[in-house]
Amino acid sequence: MKILELKNVWFNYEQEPVLENINLDVEEGSLVAILGPNGAGKTTLLKIILGLLRPQKGTVKLFGKPSWELGNERRLIGYVPQNLSPNRRMPIKVRSVVLMGRYRGILRSYTEEDLNAVSDALATVEMDHLENRLFNTLSGGQRQRVLIARALASRPRLLILDEPETGLDPSFHEGFFRMLEKIREKYGTTILIVTHDVMAVSQVVNKIACVNRKLVAHGRPEEVLSSANLECLYGKGAAFFGHGPTPHLIVEKHKNG
């Protein structure tokens, strides 16, 4: 079953085209990575999927409905934004941040189930011991893990992550993509992730969508990660350095050898 369908999506910021004719389907329960260089329109694409931006042309259906017409279905989405910078002096505790993932509407108080979901989510990202700390006293990587816990706390059908690896501690980073895979297996969550970490995602994702204003390629990792696609995404000279069946690294060929 398709959880997400984009058909002929075009988006401009004023006169500047950002996305051109994007067609993309995501099957329920899959783990899909969106790759592309900086400024390729990846974050804009996520915002369109989330219903935060409306495309000038085309349709976006999430859970079978246009994304900007979602009602309570919005609570089935877990979202980890890029570059969140709340006021450093805001006295908000880690637990309160994660509770945001259990928001169910005005004047609705939290139930026992909500509190358990928050504890589970914090344990999943190994942050349960810091639940009473102020969010802004945490390191960048710890904050990122709390934001991932907030997204997981809603037990989402669709988890959307915008470059979540930014600032993650190296020790946690290694296991991060494995953790996503486990979440998908355990809860059947569909995961859509924007990332630069080609090496890590290629080992766990079902499909990769390469975006550089247009959808350059879409398919299984081994089909998509060809030199031609990479050149289209990252410019001439980009290539894989690999041994074995899985690509391992993108390098820029040196001009003088």
Partner: protein, 266 residues
């Protein structure tokens, strides 16, 4: 002490002051965290044109100031959200324009010019029954707003984008908040004055930030400090025969310095 409490004008000033002190500190706690301090000052100053228009056309200056402040507050929010203009820049336009308009129109008032200084710096002798009722209304609306939307205010302050994704009506909460801020400003005019108002909005939350460990404690402590600052400032101003607004703000400022020192020691 008992003697001053029996004076009707002191009773009115204390009651209106206490209500306004609590409400403005509650709103101010989010003004500070959302880095909107300049907006508070800007809306307050923009109400000056409203005061002068009221005096010029023989309308109640408080009502015309309220209309002006609310329209300005919402206009700042509208331009900031829809025209990619920073809120601060929008304030930078409306603030001097309203003051300029007020000064220009002041010249057209014929004959006796009422106590403009009272509007600019506060004068508790100007606090009548109407101001007490308005302060009561502003207090009830503010408490009602936070009872309903506290969670939504915290979440949209922390992360506006994700708040939209999870279905919070961020714009509704934001405009209600701006409306209440504009409303409380006008109600406070006769107590602390247009120019001194931002102190009432910002200083109690800043003191509270030194000690609060979560958002609820922060808001409640801000409100308590707002209440103490205004009532203590008003009583001091009576005994020392000093202007009310200036005494309240000076008292709050000294409390802020103390809080800064205590927070460093502890």
């Amino acid at each position: 002490m008992g003697e001053i409490l029996s004076l009707p004008f002191v009773q009115r000033a204390l009651l209106a002051g206490a209500l306004v002190g609590i409400a403005s500190a509650l709103l101010g706690s989010f003004v500070v965290i959302r880095r909107m301090t300049f907006i508070g000052a800007g809306i307050a100053h923009s109400s000056f044109a409203g005061v002068v228009i009221g005096l010029l056309v023989g309308f109640d200056p408080l009502i015309s100031a309220m209309i002006f402040a609310v329209v300005t507050g919402l206009a700042i929010g509208f331009f900031a959200k829809n025209y990619r203009i920073e809120e601060e820049s929008a304030v930078g336009v409306f603030f001097p324009f309203s003051m300029a308009l007020g000064i220009l129109l002041l010249g057209f008032i014929k004959g006796y010019t009422p106590n403009i200084m009272g509007y600019l710096f506060g004068d508790i002798l100007l606090v009548g029954k109407q101001e007490v009722y308005l302060a009561g209304l502003a207090f009830v609306l503010t408490i009602l707003f936070f009872s309903i939307f506290f969670k939504e205010m915290v979440f949209s302050t922390f992360d506006e984008e994700t708040s939209r994704v999870i279905g919070i009506n961020v714009d509704l909460v934001y405009y209600l908040f701006l409306f209440l801020t504009a409303f409380i400003i006008v109600v406070s005019i006769k107590i602390v004055g247009i120019i001194l108002f931002s102190g009432l909005l910002v200083i109690p939350p800043l003191i509270s930030l030194f000690f609060a460990r979560n958002m609820k404690a922060y808001a409640i402590l801000s409100a308590t400090i707002g209440f103490v600052s205004v009532t203590a400032g008003l009583i001091l101003s009576y005994f020392l025969n000093l202007p009310s607004g200036a005494t309240i703000i000076t008292f709050s400022f000294i409390a802020l310095l103390f809080a800064a020192v205590i927070s460093k020691i502890s």
